[in-house]
Structures are given as C-alpha cells and as structure tokens.
C-alpha cells in the first residue's frame, strides 16, 4: 500500500500521453505547435533525446505526419500530436498511411471548431472526421480516454494497435482530459504489454510486403533491413507495385478493411456502470463520460434506473454492444460536446429498437452532470407517461 502511495504522481493528461507513448517504445516525434496539444510536443522534445530518440518541429502538420510515416518505415515507432486545424491538414497523409499500411499514431486533442473556433475550449466535434476525414474507404482505429491514467493506457494501446495491424491509429482526446491533472499510479515497465510489428520470416526473394491472404496483416520489413520494396499510395499488388487491375484493387481495399473488421474482439474496449438492470442507458465517451457517470449515480438516488456505457474505442463502432444494450433499454441518452455526431451512429444501430436522445452542447464548456441528470429525468418522465 505504501509503495503505491510513493509511486503516485500528479500528472496532466497530455503528459500521460507522452509518457505512455514512450513506454510503448515510441522514439520519434514530429509535430507543429497547436493548443491544446502543445505540451505533448514540448515533453517529447525534452524526453526523446534522453532516450536516444528524435524530435523534430516541422514546418506544418502536413510535414509532421509525413515525417512520422517516413520514420516508421525506417523502423522507428512514431507519433504526432495536434488539434482540429492541424488534424484537418493531416487528412491526406492519414489516407496514405492507411493505404501503405504504415503504423503511426496521431493524437488529436480536440478543441472547439469549426475553423480556429475557440482554441482553449473543449469539444468533441472531430468524432466523425476521425473516422471519415480522408477520401476513400479506409480502416482507422480511434480511441478516446476519460481520465489521465486512461490517457496513458490508451496511448500505449494506440501504439500497440498501430504496430499490430499496420494502421494509422487516432488517439482522440479532448481539451478537458488533455489539461486535466490527476493523481496517477503508472504501471511498472514489466507490467506493460508492448507490441512490435511482425517482421518477415522469409528471405527478400519470397517477401510480399502487401500480401497476406484476404484478411491478414502482412509482415513489415523496415527500410535498410535488406528487403527492398516499393511503398505507394497508389493501388498496388502484393509486391507493392502500382496497378489498375480491378480484381487486385478490390482485393486490396477489402483486405485493408477486413484486417480491422475481423479482429474486433481484439480491438474493442469499453466499460459499463449499472448496466445490468438499466432502463435508460447513457452512452458517453471522453470527458463527457465523467459527467455522465455522476449523473447516473445521482439518477439512481432518485430511483431512475440509469446506467453508463462508455466505449473507449469509438471506431470501429461498438455495433454489437450497442445493439445488445438497445434490446433492454427503453432509451439511450447520448451526451456529446457536438451537435450529435456519435448519436447518429447510435441511432443507426439502435434506433429501431429504442429511443435515442441527444444532449448536445457546442458552447465550449463541459456538459455538466446536472444537464445530463435533467435529460435523464425528462426521458424518465416521458417513458412513465407513455
């Protein structure tokens, strides 16, 4: 017990992300300053060279993501961090990383938008952009933490998932979690699961950099390791060479999607509170889930059977879980700091079985437990009437 107290430290969410990334083996960071993510770059600038890693401040966010893709291809685990305007600039190269299957992590500490919005105000307006921001069909994994400790854990997990599935992973923070300070106890290095990309176990003549059956993740050879191959954002064959062959094209795009869709058991994480007998489910993520948890507790005291469902992986969408919850719940309440982006997806899955209600604010402040509680009372009253 005393050991735990000794190891507890006060930490900011952004700092936890940086520490988590380093613990997962990240040794390269390229970025461009933007509130509310800048602390991550500042910490990396100081910490990376001490570990023999590299930090570079690039000329913009397009260059930042390009540089981390290059570093990852050269065999070094790499991340960048940004916020809305920078995240918009990164979209084309997120698509490149998806197409060329380069493991990278993009931390997006969301702030109010659109455009420059309110730079220091929290928001969750990039939820859909994180899934669909770049052109074309492509896989992406998006994680969203609700506490400082979870920011650390999900930073580690983001790096692990990127390496395992050779995909760009977005760690979708919000300003509240990014700047929140909490006492945390970090796992000791031995307790951490750290995943490294699988390297080829055949010689260069037999190596197929983009060949892995219909579903799989191909092994990845790093530049300079003796496997010479071509990496391109064009549709390519298993050797990496560009082609316009429709059969090869469809096979590739479907495999890219399948490698995520067929591994949901491994990828998805979520938590719940009081869901067993919940009549009204509050579905919340990120900072909003903290208010939602309080609201659920308060509602219970008033005899409202409320429960909280909190996806920590937002994309892929937790389709099965939400579908199952909708079977038993009379309503699903979705509070978000946007105009209802995730709610639309909940409606798509649950809308025919239950009532889906949003609590939406875009005023640059955290949604309070009271606002969610008021909505819970309203739904409860409505249900009692009908």
């Amino acid at each position: 017990m005393s050991r735990v107290i000794e190891m507890a430290r006060l930490m900011q969410g952004n700092e936890a992300v940086a520490e988590g990334a380093l613990a997962a083996g990240v040794r390269f960071f390229a970025g461009y300053p933007i509130t509310p993510s800048t602390e991550i770059a500042e910490i990396m600038a100081e910490r990376l060279p001490r570990l023999g890693g590299k930090f570079i401040q690039m000329e913009d966010e397009i260059a930042s993501i390009a540089a981390i893709i290059g570093a990852s291809l050269a065999g070094v685990k790499s991340i960048t961090a940004t916020s809305g305007p920078g995240f918009s600039l990164m979209q084309e190269n997120i698509g490149f990383a998806a197409m060329a299957e380069v493991p990278i992590v993009i931390v997006n500490v969301q702030r109010s938008g659109p455009s420059t919005g309110m730079p220091t105000a929290p928001a969750q307006g990039d939820v859909m952009q994180s899934r669909w921001g770049t052109h074309g069909d492509h896989p992406v994994i998006v994680l969203s933490p609700s506490s400082v400790r979870e920011a650390y854990d999900l930073a580690v997990r983001s790096v692990n998932l990127a390496e395992k599935y050779r995909v760009p992973v977005v760690l979708l923070m919000d300003e509240v979690i990014g700047h929140l300070r909490e006492k945390v106890v970090l796992p000791s290095p031995g307790e951490l699961e750290v995943v490294n990309r699988v390297e080829p176990d055949v010689g260069p003549e037999k190596y197929l950099p983009f060949g892995a059956g219909d579903q799989g993740v191909p092994p990845m050879a790093n530049f300079g390791s003796g496997y010479r191959y071509h990496v391109t954002g064009l549709v390519h064959d298993p050797k990496g060479l560009p082609t316009n062959n429709p059969v090869v094209a469809e096979k590739l795009i479907k495999r890219l999607q399948n490698k995520i869709d067929l591994n949901l058991d491994d990828i998805m994480i979520d938590t719940g509170k009081n869901l067993e007998d919940a009549e009204i489910v509050v579905l919340a993520y990120g900072a909003t889930a903290r208010s939602a948890l309080q609201a659920v507790k308060d509602a219970r005291k008033e005899g409202i059977k409320a429960g909280l469902y909190r996806p920590a992986v937002l994309w892929p969408f937790p389709q099965q879980k939400v579908g199952a919850l909708a079977e038993n719940a009379r309503a699903v309440l979705v509070p978000e700091m946007n105009l209802g982006q995730y709610r639309l997806e909940v409606e798509r899955v649950a809308g025919e079985r239950t009532r889906v209600v949003g609590v939406n604010r875009v005023h640059g402040e955290l949604i309070t437990p009271e606002e969610i509680l008021a909505a819970l009372r309203e739904v409860h009253k409505h249900d009692a009437r009908s």
Binding site: N14, I43, A66, A67, F223
Partner: protein
Amino acid sequence: MMQDLEKYLRVNMFPHMWCPGCGNGIVLSSLLRAVDKLKLDQNQTVIVGGIGCSSRAAGYLDFNTLHTTHGRALAFATGIKLARPELKVIVITGDGDCTSIGGNHFIHAARRNIDLTVLLFNNSIYGMTGGQYSPLTPVKKMATTAPYGTIEPNFDVADLARAAGATFVARSTTYHSNMLTGLIAEGIQHKGFSLVEAITACPTAYGRRNKMKSPADMLIWQKDNAVHINKAEQMSPGELAEKIVIGRLYCKEAPEYTELYDEVIKQAMGQVSGSVTSITGKGGKTSG
C-alpha cells in the same frame, strides 16, 4: 538503358509510363550512373518520390522506394533520414511537386541543411496532369491553364535553394547528361542538403505548345541556351537573360542537421534528469 545499370531497375515494371521522347529516362540513367559510380549499397539507399511523371521513377528503381503524396516527398524523407541517418536518402521530384505544392517543405529542408539529395526534374510544366503551368514555367509560355501565355514570373530554383540554406546547388540538362551524372554524384557525396536541377524535356505537354515540335528540338534548345557557370561569370545579366546556367553553382560546408541532433542527444543524455512537469507547468495561458 545500359546493361550494367539493369541491376538497379525493377525490370518487371517495364514498359515504363513515359511518352516517346520524354526526357525523364535520360535523367534517370544519369542518376543510376551516379549511383553506380559511387557504388551505393542498394539496401542502404532510399529513394523517395512525390507525385508526377518524374516522381514515378521511384517505382522503377530497385532500392527501398517510397512514392508519397504530391509535394510532400521531402517531409517523408526528412523523417527517414532523421530516424536512420546511416541511410542514403535521395528525393526525386518535379518542378510542380517541388516548388509549388511542396515549396514550403523545400525551403525548410534546405534551411535545416539535412543530408538529403534532391534531383529535380524540371520540365517547365505539370506533365502528368496534361500541361498546366508551374512555378518554373517561364513567362510568355503557353500552358493549358495559360491559354494566352503565362504572366507569372518563375522561380530560379537554384537561387531559391541557396537563399534558403542549401549547401550544394547544381544544374544541368538532359543534353549535358554526362555533366548531370557527375553533379548528381557530387550532390550525393556532399554532406548536407543538395539540389541538382535537371532541365528536361516534356514534348507532350510543353514542347509542342511552345514552338518545339519534336523532342530533338527541345534538346537543341538546351544545347543552344546552356552556358557553363565559368563562362557565365564573365557575362552580363543582359547576355544571360533566357540562358540556362549549368554546372556546380554553389557549394559550402555547414553543420548538417542529423549530426547536430546527435549532439543534442549527447547533451540530453549527459544531463541530470530534470523534472518533466516543470516544463508542462509553464505557459498555461498560451493559445493559438
């Protein structure tokens, strides 16, 4: 292509996509001759291309090759070089790719003096998209997006590179391909950011619209207008107007970026660990 250079090519990629009479093949063979002259290890060499007819060359070459997004090759290359300084990194790019959409990355890579070699295929036009003007198209030339002739002045990319901080700058043409080979080899050997501009012919999208009906006309134009730097130094600006100055234009020694970063690592590792929170503690009021 000469037999001895075949080992550098992915021959299964041929036939290549370039038009008959395109100068890109000449530039490419100069590059391979330079690589051969220097005996570069194919496994330890990375070739990064942007987007355009010229950048497609990356796919034909048997090295570690990366075909990136339009304009961004230098930013990808910066990540590779900084992560693994022991790799030789060569960037192939077009006039539009390098100086228009990629112009910002170009000046900043030059400013850092990071050890990359840029081989710029300057055909004075956007070839791949069918003949729109680029920042290197001279004035009063015809392009599909300048049907009345171009009115924007063009960059002198060699001057631009030098002003931005490049430490090796050279130019040649596909007519002077032996000189081009030598300059590329020098650029690769030079420690720091090097630019080799290769004036090349796009008969399809540029020549035929600009009174050079055949690929041969374009080579003759290069021959007639190129002036070696040694001779150019004796000529007046008036005499040099419309001329192409070729040769090694500029070279100096300056600290190279990845080597400087290695010094940062040494300094950081020798340092007693300070508190990281002390860094995050300040500047809480800033925004942007």
